[in-house]
Symmetry: D2
Subunit: 342 residues, 4 copies
């Protein structure tokens, strides 16, 4: 009954089993193991493209290390003003890039549009200003919405024109792929993405993300950055095993579909309540909704976990791979005032 975040969840049984299965005697450390080797090939097949794969344990590490590989210390990184990298990582991108500048930009429903980006890019060639270096977008966005492939391509066109590298924070990438019904390639390298933070933790892994580079040249030195950042695990096979199990049998997409479905059900059920208003389209596994204060009070009293979000009686509700429809329905019932289920 916890809709506070997808990071309150535990580990999917398949992934726990894969960790146990990987625990089979000695194995070379630091990613020289067989599972890591398989994983790189697996990602290449999934993305239909050569890809350099770097497993790490946290999303903040994935984002900050990826941006550091794409941006010089004097670079500007353009992003949405609500981007996780700008608001929730305690300056990790600034730390790993040795002081690059994040340029926060506005955009409806958590998404940037080309004109906004284009207008914001300044200073190229002037020693007095930080130099345009990278664009980072989030897929699924922080507003629970998706960029369509053509929307990404349009941003990439602007980025290319200004020689920006293009990063995608994919902490909830699975939700976007599942929700859009597209291939992973369609919304990444085919649309112009250079590097992807491929998330698994929020969608059922214990602690596993992967930084993917579609252009190996951009990955140059990444292994050194990762080690230097303390993000190279000695027993890396257990990271790789999580990711392998995550991809096996499309577990990642089944998880995401379930989470998305629960969010859609939640949004549908809540949006019709008196005084309710969806703040953003609920495309993925997050619902941003305005409810009445009495409804919020009932939900809190009933023991549901959730966050108030921004000003006024607004909530962010997050579903996950293990959300039960019964809990969704209970939430709606309590919000509606029909009953107060504990």
């Amino acid at each position: 009954m916890n809709f506070a975040s997808d990071n309150v969840t535990g580990v999917a049984p398949e992934i726990l089993a894969a960790i146990a299965a990987a625990n089979d005697g000695a194995a070379p450390p630091y990613g020289a193991d067989a599972i890591t080797a398989r994983l790189e090939r697996r990602f290449a097949e999934l993305f239909e493209h050569e890809v350099a794969v770097f497993p790490v344990a946290t999303g903040t590490a994935a984002n900050a290390l990826a941006l550091a590989a794409l941006t010089p210390p004097w670079g500007a990184i353009y992003c949405h003003q609500e981007a996780h990298i700008a608001t929730d990582e305690c300056g990790a991108p600034e730390f790993f890039t040795a002081g690059a500048k994040l340029v926060p930009l506005p955009g409806d429903d958590g998404k940037l549009v080309p004109a906004t980006l284009d207008a914001a890019i300044t200073g190229a060639g002037s020693v007095h200003q930080v130099q345009p270096a990278a664009l980072s977008i989030t897929q699924q966005t922080e507003a629970g919405t998706f960029y369509r492939a053509d929307e990404i391509a349009a941003l990439a066109e602007v980025a290319r024109r200004h020689c920006l590298a293009l990063h995608m924070d994919g902490a909830r990438f699975a939700n976007a792929v599942a929700g859009l019904g597209c291939t992973p390639a369609a919304i990444t390298w085919r649309a112009g993405i250079d590097a992807l933070s491929f998330g698994a933790t929020k969608n059922g892994a214990l602690a596993a993300e992967a930084v993917l580079f579609f252009d190996p040249a951009k990955a140059r030195d990444f292994a050194l950055r990762r080690k230097r950042g303390g993000h190279l695990l000695s027993k890396q096979r257990f990271l790789a095993a999580q990711l392998e199990a995550y991809l096996d049998g499309d577990l990642w997409l089944r998880h995401a579909s379930r989470a998305n479905g629960c969010a859609a059900r939640l949004a549908k059920g809540l949006a019709v309540l008196p005084g309710a208003r969806l703040v953003h389209p609920a495309e993925g596994n997050e619902v941003f909704i305005e409810l009445t204060e009495p409804a919020i009070a009932r939900l809190a009293a009933a023991g549901f976990g959730f966050y108030r979000w921004g000003e006024g009686p607004r909530l962010r509700l997050v579903t996950a791979f293990d959300t039960r429809e019964a809990d969704v329905d209970a939430f709606i019932r309590v919000a509606s005032g029909d009953e107060a289920v504990a």
Copy 2:
């Protein structure tokens, strides 16, 4: 049959079971869970002292973050010239401290002595030189030896006189406690240690270390540093669960005793071979030994894993919590030329 390193091992069954047990529904993320809360109390009891506990996933992160909390960017960190922080972390301490300088010092058997440290400390008060800031020692040392409590206290006396903070890299701390038969307190805060990188990964955990500060004031801002470094796990309960199981029923000391015992057996059996010579006393779970080239060739042919170390026919052999005496004996037999066991 792999004596290359203790990081080629897998996970102890008790620790894997603890991870599975922690996978029990939703839990607050980022260390606000119940297991993390228990863990801090547990460490306080173990060390007989108030202690701030920060779990992280790698030893490099533990060391670099701890040093960054103890050292300004213009600080000098004194350490043994073979210290892991100086030779094997790709400059992570320099990265996390924003450019502090490691001052490598010589010392027999991997250990520093007070006179060497005292003579090396210079520059205090001069703006032209980096400022003496911290001493970092390794316990068990990189040479497989131990600092006795009074040896640490003698170094701490020099450190205090020069206002140095005192860090211990305890990636193999368990081996030292088990081997010395002392309390954890005796070789840490009672001897003058301010911060300890408490290792578990090399001794049976999946990926779990903890940074401990015995003076909470030194831990100020550490939580921010950890997050900013990408080292705060969202599902931190699974880190905490590993550490809890590691301490439960003295698993950590039983593991370390077994590894130490195997190393002693190995050292004893090899040292008497013709042409063999122990390079350092084999006090913990590492044996540094000179063998003959034919012996080394036989061992390689038999499929044993090990590293050549430094110049000449020298090996580093590492035992671990899961090393079998039969493998130790087989290694000795092959080295002796009695038989070549595959």
Copy 3:
């Protein structure tokens, strides 16, 4: 006839003479000279307060070093969105602070107001967000306006409530003191300023600024930061001599008054032209004005130096200590179309 910037000027004769006078045999290097010693006392008298004085050669160094002394790497520095530190220093504050985050805020006429600041300060105590650390304001602002003492005090009240240190970028501090007719103390420490970048270069020095700390505790380690940043001059007496001559006989205020007077004359003469509109009040030595495109074309053809500023037919015109009234009048005449003086 150059109104492009006050940094196109040369050196005032008095300051050049002081450099020559300081060239008198050997002197201790690195600020241990007699002139530097005098200078600290001189600043203390001028500001009616104990003050730590650190001469440096550039304004960017002064600002970035001062901010680094006030802000941890995970700190947020609030500033106006047109602040020099945010837009014209190529990320120097991020570099010297090891990755702090500048938070740009809007405000009319280059000035922040308390409510804007108060609303922007978030995240204190959360490890996920950078921590409120400092406020930096510019006096004379980048819009050519002044903060009154009570306006600074009102900002300082907000800053204190949120435990922010308060920095003033005083690249054109002289213009503000001269224009407001106040004491230096009134708009610095008496109003709550902790550290001041005291500029001289734009107002007649060759290359000389000073970082002043009104609380010596905030200056701790500053000497090390300056040296480490390469900003400690060996022959520092020549920096100190510039600053001493700058203060002698109120040269700095006479210079600033003349520049301010020329700007006022320029603003007055231009504002009445058809199609002209002052963009900001011309309080100091800068005039931001909208003219007609034909007028701008005439000025360019006549060889006047100036910058277009922002969108549309807007200019920034800067006067300096050596601006001649005749040039001001010529500029106005050409803008008015009366004649095109070469």
Copy 4:
């Protein structure tokens, strides 16, 4: 009568005159002036090679910025253990490189030899170790000696083999060129140097050094680094004017020859005294000599400025462009005990 350092000197009259001459009305700021333009051509002629020229105000800035351009944050910079960059810049190279590691190496008379360098270079290709990146040598060395062209070429051969960039700290470059009687090219790019910190301050400038890159590709981004480090002077013409005057009519070589001559005279006169012993050959403008304690006491009593250097009764004596032979002779007389001249 001050032999403490060449940085206790003032400014040569020719250079002061050049500053005054440059003070001729308005000029474009930030290096867009005519003198800076001339300077780049002048250096190209002097070095018989295309060269990118970046004036800065301090030697520490020149060295640290140059090394940052040649070394990634995870790079190793090999240098002599007495190198100024390693011992006297408060970690500026670590700061500007974002945490590279200086590897101090031994060598007689302040000079590295190829075998020492070759043996020290390790770790290439391993993510666990910092990566070999640059060699920095000092010419004139910190021991007052010179590298011959063939000695530099031999070091460069090792450097090239290991893909190291090659930096020369030329704070006293003039003394080496004058003393060796070679061309500037012979001991720089012709011998394999990539970047040179060309010093002028110690040899008669007010505050002026230049970073020279012989391969423009290595200078890429340098202008951004300089600005971001606060080392781009707005009135750069006054830096350029110093350097131009320094080169004009071989002023730099005449200065250096005089200083070298005085040092040779000093060394010759002192070396024959009872109990005296030259510690290093006095090739340039520094004399490292062991005297008797009574001699040292007499010199101090007579008011001579000098530094004791290292252990025992050793002195470092530095001559400069303005040292008078009469003072040299007086020093020798006092040291010899003939008389105690005030």
